[in-house]
Symmetry: C2
Subunit: 145 residues, 2 copies
DNA sequence: AACCATAACTGTAATTATTACAATGTCGAT
DNA sequence: ATCGACATTGTAATAATTACAGTTATGGTT
């Protein structure tokens, strides 16, 4: 994503595009790796030596408040962030730790919510073993048999 | 739930039914309130003065490891627990804080997961305003107009 | 260009949830 | 009754997050 596009998106959400905010937003969009605060901080620090972890927290909270990012919570000790705020599911591989996006049916869960309830946010996720890691397991099983 | 039933369920999952474990399990089943560790600890302490919060943590981790409870994570600062381990969704009201269960279509999300991925766990949740709280909002709007 | 108000950034300290660990207590088998 | 294994407990350590106060950057006005 170009700097111009990033600035554009932040501005249309009412966010003043500071240097740090642009960098953090570009990181999220380009990497698509559902990083934690700590990962963002560690990865951006070398090129942005004055960056403070508090700024990363503040920025993500701001982004989230205007729906520029969504939070991804799969395991209870790590909050991840995703700049793709469309409705989609997340799959985390218990072996390699990779988080994958997957499509979900629009309004998949609507049908179960009682009348009179209004929804502001919906999240779908699962855990398991990705193709690569499941593959390895199978290979090992075969090798050991 | 009777004590006998609780003991039964713990034993069939290979858990030795100690006094504390039974109490914690009964609490979860009877209240159905998706409590946090802290809530369980506070609520059981009066009738079980020697209870330690560490025991609550240990017990829930044990329960979770054999699928006697599932974790419910909606907001990043609280992990809740549910003794109903069937697949269902959770709705948290942003106004009153209440967590409601709701049904979801069996295999609702299967269709989006690529071939070769194996799923061990799936979770669906959303946030919004429950019937009661949405009602209040409407009432207030009407009153002020 | 200098000034000023506002907002953003930073670093440290405080808070909170969770885990580690060592000591104590409990319970069933011998 | 004794023993060993396991459960419970309390405290200390860890880790994630937030609060806060000082500093820096920014944009508008003269």
């Amino acid at each position: 994503m170009s700097r111009q596009e990033a600035v554009q998106i932040l501005q249309t959400h009412g966010i003043k595009p500071s240097y740090q905010r642009i960098k953090i937003y570009e990181y999220l969009v380009d990497k698509k790796n559902h990083p934690t605060v700590d990962t963002i901080y560690r990865e951006l620090s070398p090129g942005l030596p004055t960056l403070s972890k508090t700024t990363v927290y503040n920025t993500l909270k701001l982004f989230h408040s205007v729906n520029v990012v969504q939070k991804v919570m799969i395991e209870d000790n790590e909050v991840r962030f995703d700049a793709d705020t469309s409705i989609h599911g997340h799959f985390k591989c218990l072996s390699c730790g990779e988080v994958y996006d997957f499509p979900v049916q629009k309004n998949a869960l609507m049908y179960g919510i009682p009348e009179g309830f209004s929804i502001t946010d919906e999240h779908i996720y699962c855990t398991g073993y990705c193709q690569d890691c499941a593959q390895v397991d199978t290979t090992l099983l075969q090798a050991s048999s």
